[in-house]
């Protein structure tokens, strides 16, 4: 057992847990933030993606204790004062989801990409999102949603 603090979506949580537990299991089972999903447990599918200190991170292979003291953003932390992040809105507008189980991870990877590259081209989107799986095959619409969000963010939407 180890005591540590996690800063998730601007809120600090004091925890006393088995230090080997994955960040994903702590987010989901202890903090009830179930937007981040389990898909593979080996960092291959991207459904568990969160942003830690600006970096898209696979929370299923990240020990929770290693994220102590760092700034963690999950899908639940994107909406601000009832206003969706432009990429969340773009996913709705581009109908970029079917079962949507991958959507949280897709959006978190996409947000991390847009934060470091405000205007990615298709090749850059494909390259940086290759580690996120959508088994329903909604890939073309996800690419379109990222481009759409890039456009709307240019206008200073965020």
């Amino acid at each position: 057992m180890a005591a540590f603090e996690l800063n998730v979506n601007g809120v600090t949580h004091r925890l006393d847990l088995d230090s080997s537990r994955s960040l994903l299991s702590v987010l989901r089972d202890e903090l009830d933030l179930t937007g981040s999903k389990y898909g593979c447990g080996e960092g291959q599918c991207g459904a568990c993606t969160v942003i830690i200190e600006g970096q898209p991170t696979r929370s299923c292979v990240t020990p929770a204790s290693s994220a102590a003291g760092k700034k963690i953003v999950t899908i639940e932390g994107l909406e601000k004062n009832g206003r969706l992040h432009p990429l969340q809105q773009a996913f709705i507008d581009a109908e970029a989801m079917q079962c949507a189980y991958c959507t949280s991870g897709m959006i978190m990877s996409g947000v991390a990409l847009l934060n470091r590259n405000a205007n990615p081209d298709v090749r850059e989107i494909v390259q940086s999102m290759e580690g996120n799986m959508c088994r329903c095959g909604t890939y073309p619409r996800i690419v379109a949603a990222v481009q759409r969000a890039a456009q709307s963010m240019k206008g200073g939407a965020r």
Binding site: E42, A100, S104, G137, T138
Partner: protein
């Protein structure tokens, strides 16, 4: 002409959609169990009756007819909110939206005023399951009828209340208004939340597709906001007060039986409850980690038996046919033998398809809770009522004491028909006296779920020099009977499905065996065209009368620019198409082969698709393209590797599925036939991809690959 195949659908429904023996037999011994509840065969028969009666009353307790009372399907609240009840479930097909459109259309009500309750066995009418592309041709018309009957009832009520004649009234925006525009009354004010107790009249008329205002339009996904914010609770997200986390002991290999087991170590793990019941051994823990730790402390000895390996599989299928005890299904017409012996062009080829996994991104998950002898299970399944039956059987309680609720689920593709995870959670919950959640790991999902059947398909054909096919013989071993019949007009045919015993657990899949049968058939059509020196499109059209199939081939060819493409080194073009479950598809692919590296890349895929009157063009396009992208995996690289009773590639790092970079440029042409009933579209578009790619691969590199996947390690390994 004899026709011993009742229909392709009948074979599939019996064999791969539903037939499942119970996952676990608890507490009573096997003999007693069968005496009490009947064996799997009896279950199959009960379900077969259910197949004819697809939705409606329970299949037990004599409620055999579909409820015809409006209130079974639809309720209007005092606030005017419309609640719709359907046993179908949402797994990404966007039927929550399309069925909402059906009700909105007939009631002229805003989309936002309608909420669907789906897949809840206590609240919704019985439904056989969400599979076989049945929602659009079956459930949508039923909801159209129920909503139309409600509309007529509301008009009657309004006429009485407003003292006006019915012709003076019209329905708009959730209200009844008089045509002068002076008076109106809302649905909620009319019904005051009371049940709509009225039988849906047999002769009720629904709005024809040509007059649709809400149906037929690209209405946005109704619950999109919950999905992009992470708020929607999938089955694996359900949390109950005091809930424990469950893990189940798995055998080291298929066919292994449990010998001795020592659970004393596990029982010493803090926060873990151990359950042993027959071959079932599981642990419930206060955290998932406690459950896992408990599981790892269990010492079990297993007795294994020899199992067929992948390398022996295809020989096994063709050698040991009918070992499953089922007779083959055979269709014959004319005399194949006579034509073969005198054929100008005679071809014989054998095609194979591998086992592949559905790999839904959300693995099987269930939360079970017992309260005063009633069991409630939240789980991701395509058959909520079927799983209710499985639970009732497993725990020997009446179905009335089991409630299954299916929250919108992280996909299925035919892979979530069964309830083993629900039974596991319920068994652990029963033992621990607390709610228990079981979520399968990816490895469990890859190993203990079921697969799309592998198979061998032997084809021989006789063709005249002018391209007229005169005889066709087609034998499918194990893979299944969906779309086994050829849509081409061939006078002499033998078509036969040969059941075999499968070393792996197998079941439904998107399109079932239609993908395998289309791969073999459409590859063979290409082979005939090459041998006869006739353009592959021309050969197909020459042998094809079906106007709807011709239409998609022609529309796809036009969009693709078939016959007008510039040729270049290493690039080739191919097509594949057909019909299944009432819809029609043709896919045209451009493929690039790099002979130095062996890599195969699909550059462009054009598909023409027709499924009657289009209900939601944007979501339809999404389904078609999703099916095609899923089809890329089965076409190029997906394959389950197994040996010694184990799955050897049970994780995404070893089992490759399509990713962003695999997606070609895609163009989709939807043929909207407002004069024809709408049919389902989630499955059939998958069938054209594999043959189109195989044929394009031959065009590009001169290599005919007759096995799926075509190029798991690039084309160099594919043989010549």
């Amino acid at each position: 002409m004899t026709n011993q195949l009742d229909s392709d659908a009948a074979i599939e429904l019996e064999r791969y959609e539903l037939a499942e023996s119970p996952a676990y037999l608890f507490e009573v011994d096997r003999r007693e169990f069968f005496k009490l509840f009947g064996c799997g065969v009896l279950v199959g028969l009960a379900l077969k009756r259910g197949a004819a009666q697809e939705s409606g009353g329970g299949r037990r307790g004599g409620r055999n007819s579909m409820p015809q009372d409006i209130s079974a399907w639809l309720h209007i609240g005092e606030d005017g909110g419309i609640t719709v009840f359907t046993g179908k479930v949402e797994l990404g097909q966007d039927i929550r939206t399309s069925l909402t459109q059906a009700v909105a259309e007939e009631l002229s009500a805003p989309i936002s005023s309608i909420k669907l309750v789906m897949g809840d066995t206590d609240l919704t009418p019985f439904d056989i399951g969400t599979f076989g592309s049945r929602t659009t041709p079956g459930m949508a018309p039923q909801l159209h009828r129920a909503a139309a009957a409600a509309r007529e009832m509301l008009l009657d009520l309004a006429a009485a209340q407003m003292s006006l004649d019915r012709p003076q009234l019209t329905v708009t925006d959730g209200k009844i208004v008089d045509k002068s525009g002076k008076k109106s009354v809302s649905f909620g004010a009319l019904t005051k939340g009371q049940k709509l107790v009225k039988t849906i009249p047999a002769e009720i008329t629904v709005t024809p597709a040509r007059e649709w205002k809400t149906a037929g339009k690209p209405v946005a996904k109704v619950n999109a906001r919950e999905l992009v914010t992470g708020k929607h609770r999938y089955p694996s997200d359900v949390k109950r007060p005091g809930m424990l986390y469950g893990k189940v002991l798995r055998a080291p290999a298929f066919g292994a039986s449990l010998g001795s087991v020592d659970t004393s170590g596990a029982e010493r793990v803090k926060g873990a409850t151990v359950v042993r019941d027959g071959d079932f051994v599981g642990v419930a823990g206060i955290t998932e980690q406690a459950a896992s730790r408990g599981l790892s402390e269990i010492k079990a000895e297993w007795k294994t038996t020899p199992q067929i390996s992948q390398s022996e599989l295809f020989q096994h299928f063709t050698r040991k046919t009918d070992a499953s005890g089922e007779r083959s299904s055979r269709f014959t017409q004319g005399s194949v033998k006579d034509q073969m012996s005198s054929a100008e062009i005679k071809l014989e080829a054998s095609y194979t398809v591998a086992y592949i996994a559905h790999a839904p991104l959300e693995p099987r998950a269930a939360v079970a809770e017992w309260a005063s002898d009633k069991l409630t299970v939240w789980t991701g399944t395509q058959r909520p009522f079927g799983v209710r039956g499985e639970l009732a059987q497993a725990f020997r309680i009446p179905e009335e004491r089991v409630r299954v609720i299916v929250p919108d689920t992280g996909s299925g593709y035919g892979g979530k028909h069964t309830g083993e995870c629900a039974i596991e959670a319920a068994r652990l919950a029963k033992a621990s006296g607390k709610p228990v959640r079981v979520v399968w790991t990816r490895e469990e999902e890859f190993t203990w779920a079921y697969f799309r059947p592998a198979g061998v398909i032997n084809v021989s054909s006789a063709t005249q020099k002018d391209g007229r096919i005169t005889a066709w013989e087609f034998h499918n071993f194990n893979s299944g009977g969906s779309a086994i019949r050829t849509p081409y007009d061939i006078a002499n045919q033998i078509i036969e499905f040969h059941p075999a015993d499968s070393p792996l657990r197998q079941g439904s899949y998107r399109g079932l065996a239609a993908s395998a049968n289309h791969f073999a058939r459409e590859s063979h059509m290409d082979e005939i065209a090459r041998r006869a020196g006739i353009d592959p499109l021309e050969l197909r059209l020459k042998n094809l009368k079906d106007a709807r199939l011709r239409a998609v081939f022609e529309a796809g060819a036009q969009k693709f620019g078939w016959g007008k493409q510039k040729r270049s080194q290493g690039r080739g073009f191919g097509m594949g198409g057909g019909t299944e479950k009432g819809s029609y598809t043709a896919t045209f692919a451009e493929v690039e082969v790099d002979r130095s590296t062996g890599s195969v890349k699909i550059l462009r895929a054009v598909t023409a698709f027709e499924c009657g009157a289009v209900v939601n063009p944007d979501h339809l396009k999404d389904q078609v393209e999703g099916a095609l992208i899923m089809g890329i995996g089965g076409a190029l690289f997906e394959s389950i590797d197994f040996g010694g009773g184990k799955i050897l590639n049970p994780r995404f790092s070893r089992y490759r599925v399509p990713r962003f970079s695999d997606v070609p440029v895609m163009e989709t042409v939807l043929l909207d036939r407002k004069d024809l009933p709408s049919v389902g579209a989630g499955e059939t578009p998958i069938v054209g991809m594999a043959p189109a790619v195989a044929n394009a691969l031959f065009d590009a590199a001169g290599i005919r690959v007759r096995s799926l996947p075509l190029a798991p390690n690039g084309i160099k390994d594919a043989g010549k």
